[in-house]
Structure formats: structure tokens, C-alpha cells
Symmetry: C2
Subunit: 133 residues, 2 copies
Amino acid sequence: MKKSHQKKKEILSPGLRGRIWIDGAEGTFLGYGRIILLEQIREYGSITKAGKSMEMSYRHAWELVDSMNRQAPAPLVAAVTGGKGGGGARLTEDGEKAIDLFWKLHADFQTFLAKEEKTLGIPKIKTGKRSKN
Amino acid sequence: MKKSHQKKKEILSPGLRGRIWIDGAEGTFLGYGRIILLEQIREYGSITKAGKSMEMSYRHAWELVDSMNRQAPAPLVAAVTGGKGGGGARLTEDGEKAIDLFWKLHADFQTFLAKEEKTLGIPKIKTGKRSKN
DNA sequence: ATACGTAATATAACACAGGGAATAACGAAA
DNA sequence: TTTCGTTATTCCCTGTGTTATATTACGTAT
């Protein structure tokens, strides 16, 4: 099992940071973690394996998929139970489009952050490690 | 006590959303909640009252202030103990500058979100309420 | 019919961030 | 020297969100 998308390592370099996501009728519809999950489902063909590859409980992974499917006009993930291998999950065409859309947004956002950080400077940050007092 | 900045009401309209913040050596240095807290401290001259106005425990408010002061080259909040009224807290010049800087970033970010939402459409969202199945 | 591995769902156990209480320190003013 | 309200600090405890575990449903292939 590939481990390219396990837990954030909590990178700690000073600077401008941010997150973007798309809200739906119930709250978050698409965000960074959900997109990674979709990509892992595409790779493994299984919610179980996708979740494990991200060190995410099956329950959480399933809830995210369910949330996306319920808020989208048509499901992003099609899951089947039973059958050969017990079933599985695959991305729909809309699922693929969601991934593409989000990465476009993400790229624009990274550009925005870099430009903003340069123009506004973000000057007032202590660079060294913290001192006790 | 004014209540203009109590708890978020969790607005739920579909669309592009996001948050930005500035990281320091220990993690978050400046973010939306911290800026509001700074403004409330400026208004009330007290960490205690500022925290209460945001329905935030004094402990939490103090930790945020401490975190900002430790990560900044010079304190954003100057607190004094004792004296008439028991003491208090006021913003430093750097504290004022932090507020200004963040709101500039915030304004640019809102503009970015609006523009991005328009150009990329954000099409695949169910508008009506959720159905059980 | 049986086996198999996953989806789907329910229940129990757990971790921990944060709240609240309690206490000490503080120093100007009366 | 007493009072007063705040800052500063510690400790306990609980709510809640998460994980872990268990159970059921499912359907194709053998």
C-alpha cells in the first residue's frame, strides 16, 4: 500500500497560509482532504483501502464519500456491495470533474498566496525559536 | 457588554469559501479570531472583558495573546497587573499594525474568492435540501 | 450452497482540546 | 494597610469528536 498521502507532517515555516473549500447545502462539499480521498478511491477502487492509505478510519472515509454524494447533483463515487471481491467503489465522471475543478482552484489560490505574501511582506515574525520569556 | 463578535452562526450557503492566516515559529501567529480578539482588547482595555465579549474563556484568550506576543518580534499586547482597577491590557503600535495588515490580506482574499467563484462557476452543487435517500 | 471481501451501519472505547474553578501576584489609590 | 479587579498560572474535569470494533447486507463466482 502506497503511503504518499498519510497524515500531515505539520510543516512549520512562517508565512502566509490558507485553505479553500466549496460549501454545499450541508457544509463542506469539496476540500483538500476530500479530493485526496477521491484520488485514492480512483487508485484503489475501494473506500476501505483508500481510507487506510490515508490513515483514515473507514467510518470517516465513508462519511466523507456519503457527504459528497448527497450534496452533489449526481454521485461522485459509485459503490457496489457484494459481487466478485466483495464489491468496491469507483469514481464517476462527475467525480473526475470535481478533482479537476478543485486542483484548478487550488493552483490559483497558491499563486494568490505567493503574490500576496510578496506584496504585503508579512514582516512582523520572529524567525528564531521561541525563548521561555 | 457589546455582543457584536459572539460565536459564529454557521452561515450555510453553497459556494467557494476559505480562510487565511499567518504562521509563525510555533504555528498560527495571526488569524481571523486573533485579530477580532486584538480589536476587542483595544476596545475594552482588558483581556478578561475582551474574552467575555467573544464568549471565550479567559484562559483561551490569554493563551492567544501569549502566543502572538511570543511569536512577534515585539509584543502586540502590553498587559499590566495591579494598579487602579487591577490592571489591564492595551494594544501596542505593532498590535495596531497587525490588525491593519490582516484586514488588507482579508480584503484581497475576499476579492480573490469572489472572482474565482465567478470564473470557475462552481457548478456541481445541489441547491435544495437533502433528501433521506 | 458456500465462500469471499467489501459496503453499510451500529455500538463501545478512547483521547484530548478546551472550559471552569481555584489561587497567587500585582500595584495604585483611598 | 486594606481594598479592588485584573493578569498570570495551575489543576481537574467533561463534552465531543474520533477511532476501534463488531455486526449485518450484499452479490458474484465457484
